[in-house]
Structure formats: structure tokens, C-alpha cells
């Protein structure tokens, strides 16, 4: 299992979720975050915005679903402009469903 942290444009969030739904990844957690990338934010005239609002999606998927999920996120979140976001993938040792106490590991 892998944990995917996708940091995407807020206006693209719905599209990303729909694309993930289409490949069968339904469960996710989302949170509003502020961030900046290599560009150190954006400058409009004299004002500099170096903390840009983003949405972070957290999803834990089986190893086999990582590649399709990445394609889904990429196709839905990509505009080609700086600020499209990042996806970070980390390993997950185990997952538990609290309702049943069941342990899932692969």
C-alpha cells in the first residue's frame, strides 16, 4: 500500500476527485493548505503572494492502483502552468478499518 499526498490547485480538486472515482479510488481525505513551490509564489504588480492556497488530498491505495491513480491525478490536475502541484508517494506498512478492527497489509 502507498500513501499519495497530492497537492493540487483548489479549482482542479473536483476534477481530480472525479478522475480518481472513475478508476475506483473513492476514499480520500482532503484539507486546505497553503504552500509555494520553486517559483517562491507569485508576484502581481508590487504585491508578492508567497503562500498560495492549495488543496491537499490524502489517499491510501494498493500498490497496483498507484500507477492508474497517478495518471488520473496528472491528467486532471495538469494545466502546464507553474503551480499545478506535486504528488508525494510514501510506503504504508498497514491499514486498519476501525469499524471491524480488520488489518490490511500487502
Amino acid at each position: 500500500m502507498k500513501l499519495l499526498r497530492a497537492i493540487v490547485r483548489p479549482e482542479r480538486e473536483e476534477q481530480v476527485v472525479k478522475a480518481l472515482e472513475a478508476i475506483g479510488v473513492v476514499s480520500l481525505t482532503k484539507m486546505d493548505v497553503l504552500g509555494r513551490g520553486q517559483q517562491r509564489g507569485i508576484q502581481v504588480g508590487a504585491s508578492v503572494y508567497d503562500e498560495i492556497p492549495k488543496v491537499q488530498l490524502l489517499l491510501v491505495v494498493e500498490d497496483a492502483k498507484v500507477a492508474p491513480a497517478m495518471t488520473a491525478i496528472e491528467s486532471a490536475a495538469k494545466t502546464g502552468q507553474p503551480g499545478d502541484g506535486k504528488v508525494f508517494i510514501s510506503p504504508v506498512d498497514a491499514a486498519y478499518t476501525i469499524r471491524t478492527g480488520e488489518r490490511h497489509a500487502d
Binding site: L3, S27, T29, K30, V92, D93, A95, I98, R99
Partner: protein, 183 residues
């Protein structure tokens, strides 16, 4: 590679606990750092019902795990949020796509993972959909910023009694406030 770490040793160190147990014990002696460094750190992430959080916090405190990070998040599981049955005459089904949840993360030692998970399941299980999930992730390193301590030392410390619960700071702030209000 630094500190004379052979590829075999590296695989062993990065492998699972079982893997490390099965590796040749002689290899361990070549590792320059103390054996405590081999204790793996784990992150336990729980996504639970917001109303169970206070109960959970006091239960986990009994395991001597007072440190945590928590966040209010929105989430959904396999059931895709909540869906209401359509009312008579209603044109479409109403639903809530995301439900408010509390996400808490603890950084703990390997050995504390099981008791923590047991406690979390015990306090959060209602048997209804939406009880939440627990994820266990490996952590490579932890650093205490105040002292620069690393690994498990960054998690545990001999905390003087007067600092627990921030009592000392509160006392200072309280006196500062009274002085300020007199002026």
C-alpha cells in the same frame, strides 16, 4: 557511503523488523552508531469521528503518548459520504460528499504501535460506517529542534515536572498580564 555501511547492511537496516532479525548478527557490530538507532520510528495516522477525539486523547495519554498532531479534515470512505433517501416530490437525491473528520498523527517507536492501535480501535469502534481508518507509516528520522536530538531521543525526554502542561510558562504569562493590567 558513510560510516562503512556495506550494501548488505544497508538493506538490512532499511528492511523490516523480521528481515533484520534474520540477518547475520555479526553485521550489526560494524554499524558505528549505538544499537538504539536500530529502533524504527513509525507514524500512526488515525482518521476518526470528531466527537470521539476527546475520549481518544485521554485514553492514549494513559499509554504515555502525550505528543500528537491533530487536524480538522474532510473525508469520505468507500461509501462516498452520506446520501439521504429522496423526499417525496424532491427532484433529486441530496447528499453530503465529504464528512468532517479529525486526523491525528503520532510518531512512536515500533513497540508502541500495537498498543496504540488497540487503544484507538477500542475507543473509536461504534460498528457503524464511518468509524475511520488507521495507517502505519515508516519514519526515517526525527529531530527535536530545541536540542538537535535525533531518532528516539527526539521523542522521549526527561521533562521537569514544572514544565508538564506548560505550567511554568502559564505562571509567567499570568504575572506579566497582571503587571500589564496595573499600568
Amino acid at each position: 557511503m558513510t560510516r562503512g555501511v556495506t550494501p548488505e547492511l544497508r538493506t538490512m537496516l532499511e528492511g523490516t523488523l523480521e528481515h533484520r532479525r534474520s540477518a547475520a548478527p555479526g553485521l550489526l557490530a560494524t554499524w558505528a552508531e549505538p544499537a538504539e538507532r536500530l529502533i524504527r520510528l513509525k507514524e500512526v495516522i488515525a482518521i476518526i469521528r470528531p466527537e470521539r477525539w476527546h475520549h481518544t486523547k485521554s485514553r492514549v495519554q494513559r499509554l504515555r503518548l502525550p505528543a500528537f498532531t491533530q487536524q480538522r479534515v474532510l473525508g469520505r470512505g468507500r461509501e462516498r459520504g452520506l446520501r439521504y433517501l429522496p423526499r417525496q416530490g424532491a427532484s433529486r437525491q441530496t447528499s453530503i460528499q465529504y464528512l468532517p473528520k479529525r486526523m491525528i498523527s503520532w510518531i512512536v517507536e515500533d513497540a508502541q504501535v500495537e498498543p496504540l492501535i488497540q487503544a484507538l480501535i477500542e475507543t473509536n469502534q461504534t460498528g457503524q460506517l464511518g468509524d475511520g481508518k488507521i495507517f502505519v507509516l515508516p519514519i526515517d528520522e526525527a529531530v527535536r529542534l530545541r536540542t538537535g536530538e535525533r531518532g528516539r531521543d527526539a521523542l522521549h525526554a526527561q521533562v521537569p515536572a514544572d514544565i508538564i502542561m506548560g505550567k511554568a510558562q502559564h505562571a509567567v504569562q499570568a504575572t506579566e498580564l497582571t503587571h500589564a493590567s496595573r499600568e
